[in-house]
Amino acid sequence: MDKTINQKAWFLVLPVFAVVAFSAILPLMTVVNYSMQDTFGNNQFFWNGVGWFKELLDPSTDLGGRFLASLGRNLLFSAIILAIEVPLGIVVALSMPREGWTVAVCLVILALPLLIPWNVVGTIWQIFGRPDIGLLGYTLNSLGIDYNYVSNEFDAWATVIVMDVWHWTSLVALLCYAGLKSIPDAYYQAAQIDGASRWAVFKAIQLPKMNRVLLIAVLLRFMDSFMIYTEPFVVTGGGPGNSTTFVSIELVKIALGQFDLGKAAALSLVYNLIILIVCWVFYTVMTNAGVERPAKKGGA
């Protein structure tokens, strides 16, 4: 882990820096610029200072109310899907067959939802859940459960959550499976000799060996669920009412729907800042976890 200090390494990193800066810094500057201005259309802009930011964080205004409500919904959504997908992903990873052709079949089916375009994921669940033509909706209704994700808030939430579980649990499961695969057989044999119960094996061997990938899984899942846009937009369009309007959906409504550039830009910055902070916390935890790695090398 003793890297040499060499400032010339910047040349190696320069292309990446250029590409990402082009895609990130320039647009971000536009956003900052907009966030301080107001527009009445026709490309006429007025200086508005931090006005939008004040409004954004004040729940009594229209903008603030909508932002904070969608933020709350989004956090609740992220919490629910993490609480389902992480344990479920671990259970699925532990249930994977050990060898033979079934392994490849399971892996391929698991990975399948991950490679479906997000709006198609929405379409699939839209079709699957409709009470008139969808298998799920039809079955539930014929069982006497009054299910309709278009008109009922609870049903809409349930649909969006089940859809996300369907879409992304595989990612957690595959990451965990990769972590489990890296455990040498000797660990299981030693645990057997030590008389460990199934639960003790999980706690003492499997969970510690998975913790790095789990951290990555939680980070990716939190971030992606916090930015979720396409899938609920296709299924529920943010409704009924605003019940499934998450931050990204709200943002696109304001920016592209109402062309309220100032408000949208201010919202973008705050949104981005939240993500940056969460990302930084994870990054710190992860690099600290990485410090212990060299010591583990003997066991690898």
């Binding site: 040498p184 000797a186 660990y187 044999q189 030693a190 057997q192 000799i193 030590d194 008389g195 460990a196 119960s197 003790a200 003492a204 061997i205 510690p208 060996k209 212990e292 010591a295 583990k296 003997g298 066991g299 690898a300």
Partner: protein, 361 residues
């Protein structure tokens, strides 16, 4: 603590129906006494790890039985066999401290807390781990980790045998010696049956009082280090053990004489009837073959190379197409590359189809 009997034990990873020559372990019957230190020695793929895994219960034998103190434990799971095993790579529970690692096997078996603490303390003292008890096990060096794996085995008072699967592979050379002495000392102190798998003859010969040499799924010889050295039962043992290994050359043997390259070598015993059609060879360790000035009555040879091993010098010599290693007496110098070879007849052995033939005195 137990005596271990292997009864017609054999294993094939391809199942019992596989052809006999493909068995990873060919049928073996032997007894290991309680309290003995045994080494299973052989090159990779010789079946030694398979045999170890059969004893520990990780692998179930295709055929045969394993008895601990006369009781058949073949169908028992690893947990119920009461054995301890130290693996090639240190296995430690990352998230636990050294103390928790040592306590783990006892806690799993529901041993009362006070007793657990007492045992852990005792074992930690024995293994010099006491200063580390509160430390996270992940941060320790490889040799300390191996001691922890060993400690997890020893902490149980009922352990029948301790198995070692090449435990020194990842240990630094200077620490290997220390750890091996520690094992010897523990063995004397605790009166445990220990079985040690290795491909390193030095480790095997210094650790064990009985070395079991394996080759191609078969036990070719089981004996004390001295027996393996003085009287290899199989040509494989001859050249696998000893450095340089035994010289083994084709020869025509009759009575008290062996003929190699038209030259007659005297033998200590009489080999009257040798199996017809068998491949006959003689074997002599380089330690019992030395070079001398060429003289009539000596097998003459050409020196190709001289290896100075510090304590002794060995010459690589050639006789016709055959190569020999032979000891060079101190101070002996070679005028030209021609020398004569002097055999010690008491240590020349005869092999028929690679197996030792006992002569008649």
């Amino acid at each position: 603590m137990a005596r271990i009997d292997l009864v017609d034990l054999a294993h094939s990873y391809g199942g019992n129906a596989a052809p006999p020559e493909s068995f990873a372990l060919k049928p073996v019957t032997m007894t290991w006494r309680q309290g003995g230190a045994y080494a299973l020695l052989g090159p990779s793929g010789c079946g030694k790890t398979t045999l170890l895994n059969l004893i520990s219960g990780i692998v179930t034998p295709s055929r045969g039985k394993i008895l601990f103190d006369g009781a058949d434990i073949t169908p028992l799971s690893t947990q119920k066999r009461n054995i301890a095993q130290v693996f090639q790579f240190p296995v430690i529970y990352d998230t636990m401290t050294v103390g928790q690692n040592l306590a783990f096997p006892l806690q799993n078996r529901g041993v009362p807390k006070a007793e657990v603490e007492a045992r852990v303390k005792q074992i930690a003292d024995l293994l010099d781990l006491t200063p580390y008890l509160g430390r996270k096990a992940t941060r320790l060096t490889a040799d300390a980790k191996q001691k922890i794996s060993l400690g997890r085995g020893l902490v149980r008072s009922d352990v029948a045998a301790v198995l070692f699967d090449e435990p020194l592979t990842v240990i630094d050379p200077e620490l290997k010696w220390q750890l091996r002495s520690k094992l010897k000392a523990l063995h004397r102190e605790l009166d445990l049956t220990m079985i040690y798998v290795t491909h390193d003859q030095t480790e095997a010969l210094t650790f064990a009082d009985t070395v079991v040499v394996m080759h191609d799924g078969r036990v070719v010889q089981s004996g004390t280090p001295a027996e393996l050295f003085d009287k290899p039962a199989h040509t494989f043992v001859g050249y696998f053990i000893g450095s340089p290994g035994m010289n083994i050359v084709p020869a025509a043997v009759s009575g008290h004489e062996a003929r190699v390259d038209g030259h007659t070598i005297g033998l200590h015993r009489n080999y009257g009837v040798l199996p017809a059609g068998a491949k006959i060879e003689i074997g002599v360790r380089p330690e019992f073959l030395h070079v001398a000035a060429p003289a009539s009555g000596l097998l003459s040879a050409t020196i190709e190379r001289i290896d100075d091993l510090g304590r002794a010098r060995f010459a690589r010599v050639r006789v016709g197409d055959e190569k020999f290693s032979a000891r060079m007496p101190p101070g002996f110098s070679v005028p030209d590359n021609m020398v004569g070879l002097v055999f010690d007849p008491a240590h020349v052995h005869v092999y028929a189809d690679s197996r030792l033939v006992e002569g008649v005195a």
